[in-house]
């Protein structure tokens, strides 16, 4: 388990960990901090934040150096053996060499690449019966072109990434890194699981069994939320692939709708003309660009979207860059907006970086007295800090008072054995004037006469949200809708079928869950499992049924790099971003210091600061709950005891924590469960005075604090500014900030009463909000 905070994945993970430990599994946790899940790990490997990539690359180095990789798996199921043009003078440099192959039908990634066959010592089309590729070496095609297999390039890449090199960066002893690599490699190789499940691969070969190499990785935002997160996660995926543990028993298992083509087929528009006044966006709002021509940019290469997603600054930003939307709108870069609608994001507090400045931006005015963000709509179920900035509050319901779907179209709750989606149904009536936000959206869509919501004649299509969920289809008659279960007129179809008027009722009768269990032979090796892929295609889960080879070497990234180098016919990045795109779009994983660290004097700011949310609260919702807030009433900054003592900071002392971008005052807590170069705190415990209907003197605001004030949403970049994000994906670099700590001086408080800093003017209750009793003696009604 690497980079996993303790609230992540919640109960399913707790259940699985306990089962895993009781079954005798060995559980290793790699984390700067030992809390929650890490507490019960068989081994805790403390690591410096943002250096996971270095560790993973060193493990890859060791796995290759000792021959502990699963050769057969790599040859058959990845592009390890495929030949890449290494002639630097050629426009095709860095791309796979292709040949003409007959293809029966349209496909996404034709199998037209080459291997250098060991038996015949020449280039052959991959996966020829009897052929076996060299994974290492350099060869010349008959026309003289020098080529190398992808695995050779990976081998060259990791040559310098020795355990000794990684030890300097990660703080993990080289011996430990080597041992971890050996434990993984030997377990994968010698503890194989062989399940008696027959299946047929994409090339028609029949297998009597499914083999598993039982080494599994669980990673979360601790890996991703750094500005080097994308390449780190690529390194981890490659490590899993080397160990042969993808969609096999005991390893990383896919959940429907995955596997999908790499990258999946959905694209955003790639032309500013897709945005027209009084017309819906002509295309998907989010997608997966696969080359520069898919970017959503203006002819001059500048971004179309307010958050600059899918632009040259963050080309593969498949989640958008919410953390920059307010700053961009305030600055008018790329343009000004007249309305900002915020749903369930506490952007004046714990959901934003740089909270102090962002709060000012929300209220800032132009010289002519007009608000820079003129109209702000906030939809929230709680009296959050964000609501104080709203021109219009839309009181939302909680999930207990409304219908919801965990849809196949957006991160369903699928299991390893097949697609699963689910719904929520209200168990309480909405209170006060609350209205589920879903209903608001449907109403808005209908009144705006967006085509999804009205007939050709302009008449309303959907009564309400439940009606919308049942009857909406991706296109007329597609049979693809939000819910995969009980489709068809009478609920007799799964995954695809006509809308069923009784679908909600059928979900309700089935505990609100639809679970489609695949036949055993379709449950593993799905990237290359003919039966599964055809099933997936027939059910329109995926468009193509061809094998999905693992990309050890990413040609998608190479396409962006080549464009930055001025090669080929695709769009080219603007001059100012060429270097950036060329550097970070490396087709093989590499390690670099997070961007913020590159801009920081590490002697001045020697510590990395990170946060996590406590297990007792999931996200920040309900952290004002009377019982939960007794568990975590305020937060401390946890500091390794030796680090603290070196600066004369005693346990419980008031300290200043400063980054280049801001300063907070809080209390220190000594800890032996944090690596010495890291400080950390619970996120979203600290609240603004008066918020969440807590009294202004509540501990959350007086002793609690928010680390977000220290994190900048932007970094200086030459003369301009760029998002504090991964340069490939735009993933917010929440965990990159570097800080220093110092004891608060005796004379620094006038009153002698300490509280955390910064403080804000207390939020006022809204009309109709009740003051709470001084004593709560809750006595719930009996059901039945």
């Amino acid at each position: 388990m690497i980079g996993t905070a303790e609230d992540h994945h919640s109960n399913p993970l707790k259940i699985a960990l306990s089962k895993f430990k009781r079954d005798g599994g060995r559980f290793i946790s790699i984390n700067p901090v030992r809390t929650g899940y890490s507490a019960i790990a068989d081994e805790w490997v403390p690591i410096r934040p943002g250096t996971d990539g270095a560790l993973l690359l060193a493990i890859i180095h060791e796995i290759i150096a000792t021959g502990l990789y699963d050769r057969e798996f790599l040859v058959q199921y990845s592009n390890a053996g495929q030949l890449i043009n290494v002639d630097e003078s050629n426009d095709e440099f860095g791309f796979f060499v292709r040949t003409e192959v007959p293809t029966e039908e349209a496909c996404y990634e034709p199998q037209d690449k080459l291997w250098w066959d060991r038996t015949t010592d020449r280039a052959v089309v991959t996966h020829q019966p009897g052929a076996d590729p060299f994974l290492l070496g350099e060869f010349n095609l008959p026309d003289g072109t020098p080529v190398k297999p992808a695995f050779q390039l990976l081998h060259e890449r990791v040559k310098e990434y020795t355990p000794e090199w990684a030890a300097q960066i990660t703080g993990i002893p080289a011996e430990t890194i080597r041992r971890l690599a050996h434990e993984m490699g030997v377990t994968a190789r010698d503890q194989k699981i062989e399940l008696p499940i027959a299946w047929t691969d994409s090339w028609g070969k029949e297998h009597d069994t499914v083999t598993g190499n039982p080494v599994a990785f669980h990673a979360m935002r601790g890996l991703a939320a750094h500005s080097n997160g994308f390449q780190t996660i690529r390194a981890m995926s490659i490590l899993m692939s080397l160990l042969g543990t993808i969609d096999r028993p005991g390893g990383f298992r896919h959940k429907a709708p995955f596997p999908r083509p790499i990258p999946p087929c959905a694209r955003t528009p790639n032309d500013p003309r897709a945005v027209q006044p009084n017309r819906p966006l002509d295309g998907m709002a989010l997608g997966w660009p696969s080359d520069p021509d898919d970017l959503f940019v203006n002819p001059d290469g500048s971004p179309v979207r307010i958050d600059k997603a899918f632009s040259w600054e963050y080309p593969l930003s498949v989640h958008g860059l919410m953390h920059n939307a307010i700053t961009n709108a305030w600055r008018g870069d790329p343009y000004r907006i007249d309305t900002l609608l915020i749903f369930m994001a506490n952007m004046a507090w714990n959901s934003t970086m740089n909270a102090v400045e962002v709060r000012k931006m929300l209220n800032d005015k132009t010289e002519d007295g007009e608000y820079k963000i003129p109209f702000l709509v906030v939809c929230d179920a709680f009296h959050s800090e964000m609501t104080a900035f709203a021109d219009l509050i839309l009181p939302d319901t909680t999930y207990l008072e409304r219908h919801d779907v965990m849809s196949m179209l957006d991160r369903p709750i699928s299991e390893f054995d097949g697609p699963v989606d689910s719904v929520r149904v209200p168990i309480l009536p909405p209170s006060g004037d609350c209205k589920p936000f879903q209903e608001v959206l449907i109403e808005l869509g209908t009144r705006l006469k967006l085509p999804a919501f009205v007939t050709r004649e302009g008449a309303r299509k959907f009564r309400d949200y439940p009606d919308f969920i049942v009857n909406w289809e991706s296109e007329p008659g597609s049979g693809i809708g939000f819910l995969a279960g009980w489709r068809g007129k009478g609920g007799e179809k799964s995954l695809r079928g006509e809308p069923n008027p009784n679908q909600w009722e059928m979900y309700r009768k089935n505990n609100c869950v639809f679970h489609y269990e695949l036949p055993k032979s379709y449950q593993y090796m799905r990237n290359w499992n003919k039966g599964y892929l055809e099933w997936s295609q027939r059910n329109r889960v995926t468009r193509y049924a061809e094998p999905i080879l693992i990309h050890l070497y990413s040609e998608v990234l190479q396409r962006f790099r080549a464009a930055a180098q001025g090669k080929g016919f695709s769009r080219k990045p603007p001059e100012s971003l060429k270097k950036r795109v060329e550097t970070y779009f490396d087709p093989l994983p590499f390690y670099y210091d997070p961007l913020e660290a590159q801009l920081t004097d590490k002697h001045k700011y020697p510590l990395a600061a990170v946060t996590q949310r406590p297990m007792a609260m999931y996200h920040s919702w309900d952290s004002q709950n009377a019982w939960l807030r007794q568990i975590h009433t305020h937060n401390y900054l946890y500091v390794n005891a030796r680090t603290a003592l070196r600066q004369g900071i005693a346990d419980g002392d008031w300290i200043w924590v400063e980054s280049q971008w801001g300063k907070v005052k809080c209390m220190a807590r000594h800890s032996e469960a944090v690596e010495p170069g890291t400080v950390w705190t619970w996120n979203a415990i600290g609240k603004a005075a008066g918020a969440w209907n807590l009294t202004p003197d509540a501990n959350e605001s007086q002793k609690g604090f928010l680390l977000n004030h220290l994190i900048s949403e932007e970094l200086p970049d030459g003369g301009s500014r760029i998002s504090n994000s991964d340069p490939i994906t735009g993933q917010a670099a929440w965990y990159d900030v570097r800080v220093r700590i110092s004891k608060v001086g005796a004379g620094e408080t006038a009153t002698g009463v300490q509280n955390t800093s910064p403080q804000f003017e207390p939020m006022k209750p809204y009309p109709g909000m009740k003051t709470r009793a001084a004593i709560l003696a809750f006595f719930g009604g009996k059901s039945k």
Binding site: I15, L17, T66, F151, V186, A616, Q624, T633, V674, F778
Partner: protein, 243 residues
């Protein structure tokens, strides 16, 4: 004679507090309730809990263990809290060994909480009576509940199933087997309280790799390090060396 108890497996407890809140949720609304909170939405909120999870750090970095330690009344077999009670409110049940407080008799004098070496009792500030874990005595015998629900609320809620419940006097029960086979221990045995609740310690899984396991006959490098044979027609030293 039956002695009901909890056995808590510290090997899998992740410290999520689900047992804490589910305990309060059940008990505040039941026979042992209410479990009042003072200043629930203000400064320094405090309230009655029958079960709390404490977290300790053991050892020095980097050899640190973080231990999540759920703690409630241990239902001692020799409970010092019982004889000190001047009104007879605190008592231990013969039939199942559960230690209970009769609120109608309790005068809130706190003798029992001073006598308890484990800090398991809490005075309910609102009702001014002593409260503590009842092992959900109002669940475990409730025949209107499904058999699988006749367990303490915390046991039902624990996602890691770290909490086992049963009769520690029955050598064949799940709890007795766990204590026997997984090194179960009681807290502070030197006090002679004979706590019925037990804890199971951390158990570590390790891998020992011997050097000869690292490289095997089928090491793929034996294949991949082989380079292609040179073409037959390429010149060799052999062709030009005449001695």
């Amino acid at each position: 004679m039956t002695q009901l108890a909890l056995v808590i497996d510290l090997n899998v407890c992740v410290g999520c507090h689900a047992c804490v809140t589910s305990c309060k949720e059940w008990n505040t609304s039941g026979g042992a309730g209410t479990m009042g909170d003072q200043n629930p939405y203000g400064a320094d909120p405090t309230g009655t809990f029958f079960n709390r999870v404490q977290t300790f750090e053991v050892g020095e970095f980097p050899n640190t263990e973080t231990v999540h330690f759920p703690k409630s009344c241990l239902h001692c077999e020799e409970p010092p809290c019982v004889p000190v009670c001047p009104t007879g409110a605190s008592y231990k049940r013969k039939e199942d060994g559960i230690v209970l407080v009769d609120y109608d008799k309790c005068i809130g004098c706190k003798y029992c909480s001073w006598a308890c070496p484990y800090g398991a009792r809490e005075l309910d500030e609102q009702q001014r009576v002593m409260k503590k874990c009842t092992l959900c005595v109002d669940r475990i015998y409730d025949m209107t509940m499904a058999p699988e629900d006749r367990k303490p609320s915390c046991v039902k809620a624990c996602p890691t199933s770290a909490r086992l419940f049963g009769d520690v006097h029955d050598p064949a029960s799940e709890v007795s087997v766990a204590i026997r086979e997984s090194g179960g221990y009681a807290l502070m045995p030197e006090w002679g309280t004979h706590p019925a609740n037990h804890y199971l310690p951390r158990r570590k899984t390790r891998i020992k790799i011997h050097e000869d396991e690292l490289e095997r006959a089928d090491n793929p490098l034996k294949v991949d390090r082989q380079l292609p044979k040179p073409a037959m027609a390429e010149p060799t030293l052999d062709d030009v060396t005449t001695w």
